[in-house]
Symmetry: C2
Subunit: 284 residues, 2 copies
């Protein structure tokens, strides 16, 4: 795992302001200031000897409590999913190959679905470059796998995840696919409930990680999830939160699909910031 | 004056990170985290019913203490002054008119002298647009003024201030010009001592405001400064910090020369964010 560093402080405060801007939109100026003060005081007491998703989990839970809003991102999640669905509505599975689908899934982690008018160009994504691309290793492993665990990340990109999952199912119908969502709402991440609402349960097996942070912190995941995790032949882990919590986990074959979004993670992994990667964390 | 608002929180935290990045460059990661935590805890206890410069003054003094660095911006101030001096070295006072000099002074408030390779184009500045421009009122008032008080702002732009001041002195040699700097170091602002080091005392009268915040908070300025302030025929106030502390002060004729840099000040004044202004706060 990757523990939080000094550079994470800016991100945590940004997230405090983001929650306040959404959950406290109609609050008075001084009420917003008071909530901000409570939140930074809470942050000043948090142990940084944890992964960023675990610190964020504590911080968000505190923010949900003091803003009296248990799911400020609910509407944004629905909207970004709808935008992403609109992007891919004309995409036919038979027109794209598995490698393209992986690029789509990583690109989904890059595109900011919150930005209106953010034009989506299927051709651009097909030409989208992965700076590290272990597709061949993935394909080789997939051919001898009996089951695959897919760890989802955010709203919006989940629609691209579905395309990749459908493609894997189409090409490898004998593989049992399990899709894991967060235990409960955290930021704009996809929960177990979201997976069901989006119909993933109709095509795949869906489970909860048992953990409500924006990552997969195995120490706090459910026994059921851990049993599935450690017995998986291959795992696809989407996004930076899952990467931060699972980086270095060498007991299973994990492919991390993400954009390296910050200096801290870049420094810890020696992968340049901004890289789009599909990287094999091979069992050793 | 303009009191701080919720939106100032992001700026204060940004400033904490800025000081840490400079003053604690060689500190260990966990030492930086501890200083950050102390600083946000301090911020969580500050009364926001003050102007942003007054809150920043308290915050910076606390940061100077906990980082054990009483002037982290010292080197940056020298560097930006040198860059600005290099920009204007070929500029001849006889080639530019007073109106241009005012544009230069406002442009100085806009240019980020910290950015290497930031090309400075004298022609561009001559065509630089002021969205509010009360130059005519200024010129009319200047013709009947016996003294002028100039309230400086940051390093870098101070070099442009000097050009404007020289031009006023050249055109109106009978006007007594007094230039006021901060009492002690605050961010990259120009202090009374800086004015002397830069030779302002050789051409103008220089004084300290008696206040060490990044503005002119009259309640905390020295009696000497206030006597000069209230007996001035015309005052030029540079930058947003001075604007925030003096906005609405109608007992003297003040011209505010600045770029409106944030939403909060824009909302309070109804001047669009990003506007470059030379605005008359007429005695009423």
């Amino acid at each position: 795992m990757i523990l939080a560093g000094y550079e994470c402080t800016g991100c945590f405060v940004h997230q405090i302001n983001k929650v306040i801007s959404i959950a406290c939109k109609d609050f008075k100026e001084n009420e917003k200031i008071e909530i901000f003060k409570k939140a930074i005081r809470f942050l000043s007491e948090v142990d940084f000897n944890e992964t960023p998703p675990e610190i964020a989990r504590k911080l968000y839970n505190f923010l949900y409590k003091i803003t009296q809003n248990v799911d400020p991102f609910e509407k944004i999640k629905d909207e970004t999913n709808k935008i992403a669905e609109n992007y891919v509505k004309n995409l036919r599975l038979e027109d794209i190959d598995l490698h393209d689908c992986i690029k789509y899934a990583v690109a989904g982690n890059v595109i900011d679905f919150g930005i209106a008018g953010n034009e989506f160009d299927v051709e651009k994504i097909r030409n989208f470059n992965l700076q590290i691309d272990h597709f061949n290793e993935f394909y080789t492993l997939l051919k001898k796998s009996k089951n695959l665990l897919y760890l989802v990340d955010n709203s919006g990109e989940i629609i691209f995840d579905k395309i990749l999952l459908k493609k894997i199912k189409f090409e490898f119908p004998e593989i049992k696919i399990i899709v894991a969502g967060r235990e409960s709402n955290i930021i704009n991440d996809i929960t177990y409930k979201d997976l069901i609402n989006l119909g993933f349960n109709l095509e795949f097996n869906v489970i909860s990680t048992g953990y409500s942070g924006a990552g997969v912190y195995l120490d706090k995941c459910s026994d059921n999830f851990k049993n599935i995790f450690f017995s998986s032949d291959v795992i696809i882990s989407k996004g930076q939160g899952n990467f931060e919590t699972l980086y270095g986990e060498k007991s299973v074959n994990i492919f991390f699909a993400l954009k390296i979004k910050c200096n801290h993670v870049s420094n810890k992994t020696k992968i340049p910031k901004g890289s789009n990667v599909f990287i094999f964390n091979k069992v050793s």
